[in-house]
């Protein structure tokens, strides 16, 4: 019992507090959370993309296609898992696992809150970069193991792309890390939590720091991360019209879904890096400008309001369902979902109110934690929406254009930003 409650008294992530049980619980929560997030993302992407493209998207499986991701997952699991005869079976088998592991391992250091992370590593951002760069191995081996031309070209493209954009990405990250040393102590940090705390101490999100330097670095990262995750408009490795499906052309069934899972997990991971480094991580908007208990309370209502809004939308959706008896079960399901969302909203509201009235209560700690996680996820969700938006809006770059953008535009700019940041930092100090 002591070990169960011990975590609540600690201000450190469980990994750092030496609390292995809670670290394990966090790992499970994060894994499950990311898996659910990928499912949600799947549905939202299809729906949002559909509405961009004046169509409805999935509508059949469950009300408004809400169960579509589950149906897809089930289908992919039941689908025959083909290994081409000439493929290298072992490597073919290992490749998606490498990609998935790399994508999921980075979540260890992602700080959802000052103590809401598995662990806080001293080398956090370096670890994230390193592990996410392992994802390229999965792609290269997948392309090679398929023993086919299209996957091979896709894999080579993909790895070349990821390696070249990693450089610009790293430069942008370094300029943000240099900003962490602009506090009183004058010592920077690589720790993810430390980076957010540095922003807290300096009272500014790094995107606004040394304006426009922080913003440029952020923009470079935001572009490079799209390339890094092979999403449109940099989705050449999977360019359907050119290479059928790129490195996973020969994959099917569960293994293919592992690639998809890895891709989406990587998207969330890089968005988390962007949020942590430039957008203040778990901090709510304007923590310095609009402070005081009243503002604190207002901002702590946001999670409840979000869920309340979702519940409202779902209720409206339920009311607008066609009234034929055919839709009765769907209506009931949607209604239950709406009630569930409303219930969560009420619970969050309760926690917010109780936590506000009594600062010492356990509800106050819960409220804090919920706030942190909510704002973090909120910011990440914006990026996820941007990913969908890009995909709906832009055509695809050509390979040489992609490379020239990476090496001739992004790299010089990021180097310039890095140098300027250093100069400005030294001058201000």
């Amino acid at each position: 019992m002591n070990i169960l409650t011990s975590y609540f008294g600690s201000n450190l992530p469980p990994g750092n507090a030496g609390n292995q049980l809670w670290a394990l619980i966090y790992v499970f929560i994060i894994f499950a959370g990311v898996a659910v997030a990928v499912l949600c993302m799947n549905w939202i992407e299809r729906k949002a993309l559909a509405h961009f493209q004046i169509r409805l998207g999935p509508m059949r499986v469950g009300p408004h296609g809400l169960l579509q991701p589950f149906a897809d997952a089930l289908k992919l699991m039941l689908k025959e898992d083909i290994i081409p005869a000439e493929a290298d079976a072992t490597v073919f088998w290992v490749a998606p696992v490498i990609g998935l592991l790399a994508a999921f391992t980075v979540y260890i250091v992602i700080p959802f809150g000052p103590s809401q992370a598995v662990t806080d590593m001293n080398i956090g951002i370096l670890f994230m970069l390193g592990v996410s760069s392992l994802g390229v191995l999965g792609i290269v081996t997948a392309g090679w193991a398929s023993n086919s031309h299209y996957p091979l070209i896709g894999a080579l493209r993909s790895s070349a792309q990821m390696v070249s954009y990693e450089v610009a990405m790293g430069m942008a990250i370094i300029s943000a890390i240099m900003m962490t040393s602009m506090n009183a102590g004058g010592i920077g940090t690589l720790s993810m939590i430390g980076i957010v705390q540095a922003q807290q101490q300096q009272g500014i999100w790094f995107i606004f720091k040394f304006f426009p330097l922080g913003f440029i670095a952020f923009a470079i990262f935001a572009i490079a991360m799209v390339a890094e995750t092979n999403r449109a408009p940099f989705d050449l490795p999977e360019a359907e019209s050119e290479l059928t499906a790129g490195f996973h052309t020969e994959y099917s069934g569960l293994r293919w879904s592992l690639f998809m899972l890895g891709e989406y997990a990587a998207m969330i991971a890089v968005s988390s890096i962007a949020v942590t480094l430039w957008l203040g991580g778990w901090m709510r908007p304007f923590p310095n400008l609009l402070n005081g208990p009243a503002w604190e309370f207002i901002f702590s209502l946001f999670p409840a309001l979000t869920f309340g809004g979702l519940a409202l939308i779902t209720f409206i959706g339920t009311a607008r369902m066609p009234s034929q008896s055919f839709f009765r079960i769907q209506r009931m399901g949607l209604g239950i979902f709406a009630v569930l969302l409303g219930f969560i909203a009420l619970l969050l509201l309760l926690i917010a109110v109780v936590g506000h009235s009594n600062d010492a209560s356990i509800a106050a700690r819960f409220r804090e934690g919920i706030d942190y996680v909510y704002w973090f996820i909120f910011k990440v969700a914006i990026f996820m929406y941007l990913f969908i938006w890009y995909r709906a809006t832009w055509p695809r770059y050509r390979f040489d254009q992609l490379m020239s953008v990476g090496w001739k535009v992004m790299l010089p700019i990021s180097l310039g930003v890095l140098i300027l940041t250093a100069i400005v930092g030294v001058l201000i100090k």
Binding site: M121, S133, L190
Partner: protein, 188 residues
Amino acid sequence: MNPLLMNPAVNAGSAPVATPFFFYFLAGAAVVSGLFVITRRNAVHSALALIVTLLSVAGLYLMLYAPFVAGVQIIAYAGGIMVLFLFVIMLVDIERVSKERQYNRVWPVGLLAACALLALFVSAIVKGRSLLPDRMVQLPESSNTQQIAAALYGEAGRVGQYTFAFEIASLLLLVAILGAVIMTKKKI
């Protein structure tokens, strides 16, 4: 990778993470996959085994409270050098090579020499084990990166101990890049 393994025990005095289990697990993985590296026919399999070795060694670094070196190991070795290896393996025709004879004609001699080396190591370790302390010094892990930075770049206005060597290393990398480009390019 097991997240518990990353448990860096920032607060000195908390439970040590360098538990024997993890050590033996990582050491075993490193040696077994090292064996795979030198025995596989297919170079891609060798490369994948080498990646396992490298990651295991990175884990050992973490257990030795050298997180920065572990990070460099992952990002430079596993993420950089091994991708280069895989690229080259894909470019050259390994299909044919993997069907040919794998070991050179003088392999018994090589093996013998390696065994002699092993004997040397064993004797050195056996003879010298009394010199090695049983307990290890607790390094401050949380400031590891800062300390390495101080050694490489210097701190408080002073040039670091290794700054010059570091610059030389960057020059070495530059030369290597140029050399690789010149050798690989058909016409420049």
